[in-house]
Amino acid sequence: MVDYREKLVEKRLRSISQVVMVTGGKGGVGKSLIASTAALLLSRSSNRTGLLDLDLHGPSSCFILGVKEAPVESEEGLVPPVVEGVKVMSIDLLARGKPLPLRGHAKEEVVKEMLALTAYGELDYLLVDLPPGTGDELLTVSRYVRVNGVALVVTTPTQLAVNVARKVVEILSSIPVRIAGIVENMSGGGATSPSRDLAREMGVEFLGSIPYDLALNSLVGKIGGRELLSTNFAESLSYILKKAGFKIT
């Protein structure tokens, strides 16, 4: 049996220089905020940038970025809306807030189809916002990006988050997908932390930490992308992306 989507996914990914998977395993550590803000920062630095939200049950990127327009059908597939230069695709633009009680193989099917049908065109960076866990979303996309993929593993300075992040690192290393490094979010600022220990233990680069930014609470979802760029959060993330070798000017 031939799966026509495989070929399309391969083809689409060939026009993308780098696919950046934002993962971490644990929920609520800031993956979505980091993926969205990183996309904005890369776009501001003149990179052709896309964002793919693969958190099928709890999509957040469109809310964070204030995107509402539906993708448009063309001969080439689904053309994603653009915000601040970032081409954004999310299940949220299709399901529009409705719940998505997906079972069994359905998640893998949806991930494949989103990858096969979204017409990003030529990109320097595609940020992929992943859900918590090490299930179909992470595994399916990992399989396709062994050549041009790289992972940012997001944690917080808690043992609970680090326990899950370790599993993600083990799985990614086995595939193997290149790991750009570990980002500690909502950091207390200490020079030691379980995230740093994890990086050392697993031989992965520690890219830096992002302090807890109180201002975000009142901003997220209420502002557009542009204002997000002027937060302390964005400034810290910008350093981390530079350290990871991304083209930030």
Partner: protein
Amino acid sequence: MHEYVIAVGIVESLREFSFRSGRVVKSFRVVVGELSMLNLEQLSEALKRLIEASEVSGAQFSIEVEPARVRCGTCGYEMAFSEAVSGLSEEERETIHFLPDLIASYAECRRCGSLDLRVVEGRGVSVRDVIYVEH
């Protein structure tokens, strides 16, 4: 409209298959899930054009529709296509056209109201029974 890009995926898959194996594709069967609501004429036209212009020119194909079955995880009731999509808006059908599993977001069990639905059959497009001959 994205029937075209699906046809591209199919023909490129067959081209690669042909190239790797050194064999010539004689015929294949395209099974289209009813939920995807694809335009069969557009798909067939696109396939014909792309096949002619490619290394698999001469390949014959048939297209058939696989009926949809959507099962409720709560009460076990199974809905056919018409029941599953009845009452859905044009926009909702358009989404299911791309991502058939999103029926789970829009429909509910017609018997018990549950949102816990899964597509058992008749989801997307698959290519089966590829017949080839040695070069």
